[in-house]
Symmetry: C2
Subunit: 205 residues, 2 copies
């Protein structure tokens, strides 16, 4: 049966195109026509594969979310020692974002718009343990006295912020500090080690 192959072909082309457009323009900024064009197909065919814009968007969003978050959690969930965990997290997280620079903005944007609509779907009722385990780990280290006292959530926020934000502010940064693309990605590369070092310097005793 050729149908399946073709299906995958065209369906995949559409998803790739839709992803590109949605990630950059966002839900309301994206045009079905643009997606069709980017996929090299007809707008009608787009609707043949995906009933409507909302559904297509949801497919893209959930797909991205379900690829992205587990990667984060897997590290925070792991049973590495705290410092190693922080190192690994920064490195892998930045790597991840470097390959999908628009993802954080896209994600947060969307969640800001329809918080409940999507958040519910990407994190089932009970999958908080990941973050919890990391927070507990910090608390434990604080109590053991191996690191300086700090509110675990604050530390988590610091780590996340420093990894993600620069990518969201990239165009602004480029302009403000007069960097070119290459210098920027070099900076981010450095950051993989800089951030853990910065954090560890701050909390180690």
């Amino acid at each position: 049966m050729v149908k399946n192959e073709k299906d995958k072909d065209t369906g995949e082309k559409i998803l790739v195109a839709a992803r590109k457009i949605f990630l950059v323009k966002g839900m309301s900024g994206a045009r079905m026509q643009d997606i069709a064009d980017a996929a090299g197909i007809n707008k009608a065919l787009l609707h043949y594969y995906f009933r409507n814009k909302d559904q297509l968007f949801e497919v893209i969003f959930l797909e991205e979310a379900k690829k992205f978050f587990p990667k984060i959690n897997m590290i925070l969930e792991s049973d590495l020692p705290l410092f190693e965990k922080i190192e690994k997290f920064a490195a892998e997280y930045i790597d991840e974002i470097q390959q999908n620079p628009y993802l954080p903005m896209f994600m947060l944007n969307q969640v800001n718009q329809d918080t409940d609509k999507f958040l519910g779907k990407i994190m089932g009722r009970k999958n908080q343990p990941e973050t919890w385990s990391f927070l507990l780990q910090i608390e434990k280290e604080v109590k053991k006295g191996t690191i300086k006292p700090i509110h675990p959530v604050q530390l988590l926020l610091n780590l996340l912020s420093m990894c993600v934000f620069p990518f969201m502010a990239k165009p602004m940064i480029l302009r403000k500090i007069r960097l070119d693309e290459q210098q920027f990605s070099q900076l981010m590369e450095q950051r993989k080690k800089e951030i853990p070092q910065f954090i560890i310097n701050s909390i180690k005793k």
Copy 2:
């Protein structure tokens, strides 16, 4: 002359309404009708005061940008000692965002869309010195040996990230860590002191 009063009245009503809508929905997500409704006026009257959507948006954007950035720069430009400057910056910056939680997302979003269109207008050709002076100050301290060696840009990014990001990720954070509004703003309040302390702990010798 009543014209001016009325002008200011209606014109102001429109700006307030437009700001509210644009900040939350973004340029492409905002509807002129919604803005008119929020202002309690007719759509035609909206166009009587502002030729079209683009122009209205630009007015709002530039207004916000010109209010916001100088506040940042004023602190970074000042001639406070480094540590005090960091303390002041975190406190005032977070305060600022707490009063306009949607601003960072709105701003960065827009800059991500049409980088050149707006960035050119909000930062005239030559107003980089602010950031530079802060970077130079860090460099100087490093050379003096009063703080541990660190790339000034990295430190600046760290500071900015930790102040801004949590607000952009707020809905996500609320859900993930199961906080309510009050707990969140409490956390952010703590952060005003937490961030400087965290940074200073990390870089002081």
